[in-house]
Amino acid sequence: MRSLIKFALFTCVVTLAVVAFAGDKGPDGKTLYKANCLVCHDKGSPNGEYTPMSLISDQWDAFFKTKLVPSHKDAVLPNSGDKKLLEILNPEELKVLHKFCVDHAADSEQPLTCG
């Protein structure tokens, strides 16, 4: 009987842990894009307007692989207390952003402006 209770408790703990872990997915691509990209690249911005559908998927791949770091190494996120963009975004968030841009690129099935 004891071992049955132990097993039941163990199962509950594992289930709760899995649910808690699954619920903590982090921000989605659209939210990340709005907070970190659109904030400097909105319509009329002196930095140039960029939305996911400004580029095709190959161009987004090239951007995230080779251009993002050199072109944004000094970029500071507005209203963040002078924090640098590349220090704010962690590798996982960059992956999510990259996927979002490719999924909604100009040559995707669902091009998005992210407006």
Partner: protein, 469 residues
Amino acid sequence: MKRLFAFAFLTLWAAACLAGDKPVSSHAQYFEHYEGTKTCLQCHRQDAENFFHSQHYQWEGNAPNIVNADGRKLGKMNTINDFCTNPRVNWIGNVKNSRGEVITKGCSACHAGSGKLPSEKMTEDQLENIDCLMCHANGYRRDLYPDGKGGWEWKPILWQNQVGMDSVAKRISLPTRIMCLRCHSASGGGANYKRGDIEYVLSDTTRDYDVHMGTNGANMQCIACHKGQDHRVRGRGSDLSGTDMPSAPLSCSTKECHGDAPHKLAVLDKHAERISCTVCHIPDFARTDATDMYRDWSKPAYNAEADKYSATITLEKDVKPVYAWYNGTTREQFMGEPVHKLADGTIGMMIPMGSKADPHSKIFAFKLHRAKMPVLDGKDYIIPIEVEEFFSNGNIDEAVKAAAKATYHVDDAKYTWMPTTRYMGIFHGVQPKEKALQCLDCHGKNGRMDWKALGYGQDPLAVLMSAHK
């Protein structure tokens, strides 16, 4: 021999273009920068001229299958339907809702042109209006932009990104399923609203869903059946007015496809003499996306989420077809002619011709679409609706009167709402034989055939059996 090699090369090239997911840059060697349709015209002028005269550009064509056409060229452009009625009065323009969001851009969104109405006369301007990339470039997307002259035009969304534009413009292939489905599945205001049997899912589905298009089935592209020549496309279903290739109607029973006697059982082949394959092999439609079965334009409906008005639309899923005799010809209700009422009092918008007594008729499967449409008092002319502004403001009276003015030059039109009926052939979503109808689906106690309406006194099998007793 040279011809054989050329044919083999073209076949392999087309297959390569259609097979992979990776976009094929088939035109990389032909031009450096895409500068609109004039880039295509450098090599494809004859193709463009052929296309200019086609159904897909003119939205009109010869209509020998419409019994009351009287030799007129017909098509979407000069006829009326009970979905969004007529494209000429709803052609192009951004219409916004009260939140400032664009809710509609006009019927030209699905015209293979850059926004100008097709003209009768072929001009350079009209040839350059043809948007080749819509049907031939993988990854091409476009949107509506001001044309600088107070109007609107469709332009690639990459118009400010020449490198991206050049990449997409070089991915040329024959039309793939998804290229066709973007327009043919989206018609009528929503996914699968209009046709019922042409669903987005057909772009990537299984044999179980559609034996022809399923990727683990024959994996056929739309153009495998609808192939034509000189940019003419075969097939008209049962309710297209004009058609590109009336002399080459689509049929399952050609030698290249299934022949006249495709079954192992003689009794099934006997059935096929008077019953279209679709009857047994497409037992239902709208299996993924619900389809519009009834559209009541007299009752505006407001969608708060989209902040948009529409007609009151009844959507249904997994719909059983209705069955009727059809000999390949249809009677159509035209604008500017008194309405023709059926026995049930509804206006027959598109009615299949044929009967049990007609040896050229077979029983076909149909979606039966009903609607309520405005009819001009005194003249009995059916009136289109200027739906674009209506989507924004919900004023149906204004939308009908504006269309009556534009179409019949009548001020402050008086009109009456009348019920309509349209038969639309069901031809897609052919299922494997294991899922085809069985004997009792039609000949059972609660069989799906309305034998009386089909001209039989009762179930013909019951008659046969009682004769043998």
